[in-house]
Symmetry: C2
Amino acid sequence: MPKSPPRHVVILAGGSGTRFWPVGRTSRPKQMLALDGDDPRPLLRATYERVKPLCDRKGPFVVAAKRLGAEIRKLIPEMPADRLLLEPVPRNTGPAVALAAHAVACLGGDAPLAVVPSDHHASPDATYRDVLAAMIDRAGESHRLQTLGLVPTFPATGYGYLELGARRAKSPSGAIHAVRRYVEKPALAVAKRYVKGRRHLWNLGTFAFRPSVFLDAFRRHMPEAASALAPLFATKAFRAKLGPAFDACPSQSVDYGVMEKARDIEVLVADFDWDDLGSWDAVARHARSDPRGNSLRGTDVALDATNCLVRTDDGTAVALIGVDDLLVVRTKDALLIARKGRGEDVRRIYDALKLAGRLDLLT
Amino acid sequence: MPKSPPRHVVILAGGSGTRFWPVGRTSRPKQMLALDGDDPRPLLRATYERVKPLCDRKGPFVVAAKRLGAEIRKLIPEMPADRLLLEPVPRNTGPAVALAAHAVACLGGDAPLAVVPSDHHASPDATYRDVLAAMIDRAGESHRLQTLGLVPTFPATGYGYLELGARRAKSPSGAIHAVRRYVEKPALAVAKRYVKGRRHLWNLGTFAFRPSVFLDAFRRHMPEAASALAPLFATKAFRAKLGPAFDACPSQSVDYGVMEKARDIEVLVADFDWDDLGSWDAVARHARSDPRGNSLRGTDVALDATNCLVRTDDGTAVALIGVDDLLVVRTKDALLIARKGRGEDVRRIYDALKLAGRLDLLT
């Protein structure tokens, strides 16, 4: 067997914290928070450690907003400076992935890379790494865009789906199929059919490709953005040109802008424990709980309480009496008490506070 | 009409804060907290201001634990030093009332006094003052122990009751009857009969008497305590003798020790808005609420929430989503979330924390 090219992984660390208020703030977005069960590590740190064994000795790349640079360097002190790619202004994931693809291209050899979210739950770590390795290797062999699909375990209406096309190959981590089409978040009845039909997968927003393959697709499907970023693509000293290029670049996600328009995309059909940790409800699902379903910390006391998630970030004591199914999140300046299942509405609290001018509670 | 003797009022400011955790602490018992609806004044301060117009220019007496002395002086800076009676060790209300009776006796003239709790809701203020004035005046005329009974408005099982005897006199604030007997906290069926029968009143733990009349009864019914306190009773310079006298004195309430044993007690049948503010549930009943039944403060946000009481003592923001009937109390080191109706169980949280050695959360 020929020696594989080096594998690279790019972690997209954009994203906001609006659904994780009051812990999540503009200065502490979701990926900077410890939201994965009882793992004390912020999601980005956990993701970094999860994928690092796949990479060369300099480790994964991280793409993030410039304003988070100092925080991220503190969180991952071992990361070499040239692996941190800072977006001067937010332009969604399309330009971010293009920037990452170019940074990898600059290393020479058109070595394939995986692009992964920084704020999901994925386990076991080794299984997840094997999946990424299989995607990267397939991207290297096939010169095609690769995406990751997960066998759905319930009829989720909050995720996008991928419809399977013909089987193309097998990998140690699952079959590789053509993608027939992308499906937006479906209605429940439709999602139920998908789960039964076994022809649809959850779209995990995780990709792999050779830089040249992605940048070709980017130029074709996001021509305006590609034109704005052209000065970057022309040089290895692209960091100096980030400001004006991003300023001029339109905002679009890599999903809408590239993946859903490109032809001949392949999907690896994977199966591991995954959650997008989209709200406090998801955090509650992954948190260790006592026999009454309560996720408490050492100083907390529960009396006739069941199925409550309690999070404090300051070691204070919480006492529950006769309450059920609550999400309780306390910070030094705020407190959230939501009924379980209402985690999505935390965004509305965020918006209400913004409207009320309480930026002190949001930043 | 002969000129009435001066009226004195003694405020009993003992009591603990266990049912008002986490705001209530051993160092901040109930009477030091603002628990009466939206009144920003601690209960003791509100009581002081409520009864002051009845008193001579030096105002009411306050009996309290010695350890609270500094706090009380800060709370009521206008109170002359000789109106503050500090118990060196807690001995319940029997010895406290005897001490107060002696202090009033020392002023000369055997002028009658009222003894009132420091931690109740009573309104309107003027009505309450009229009731106390009527009790004091009757105590002065009749040379009998007076107690205060309130026409019950619901079959409370948490209060003691007084059974009415023969009518003795009338006063501007209600009829004065003999007390036939005291009834401990009754079962619900019994309490319902009491409300219907109109022969039973809530016992408010509020008394009036001439010092000589009380001290006679005290010596008769609490002879051991009276003997321990005898050195006090022998001198106007009683403050110097408080330590050893209280040390030697047994602990007993004035209700059990004196009032329930004494004969020929009279009760004023009163009718005003009253609550013993026994728990956070009572606080919720008296707090102003919005049309959805929520008692919130300025920075709080409620989304599909009803009938929730929110109290924070630090100006932090609370957000509620989809929750009903909660008592939410936040301090800088703790948080209580209880279902409404479970306020009595806060004491169990207090006990659990004590057992766990978390004195930092209780003091």
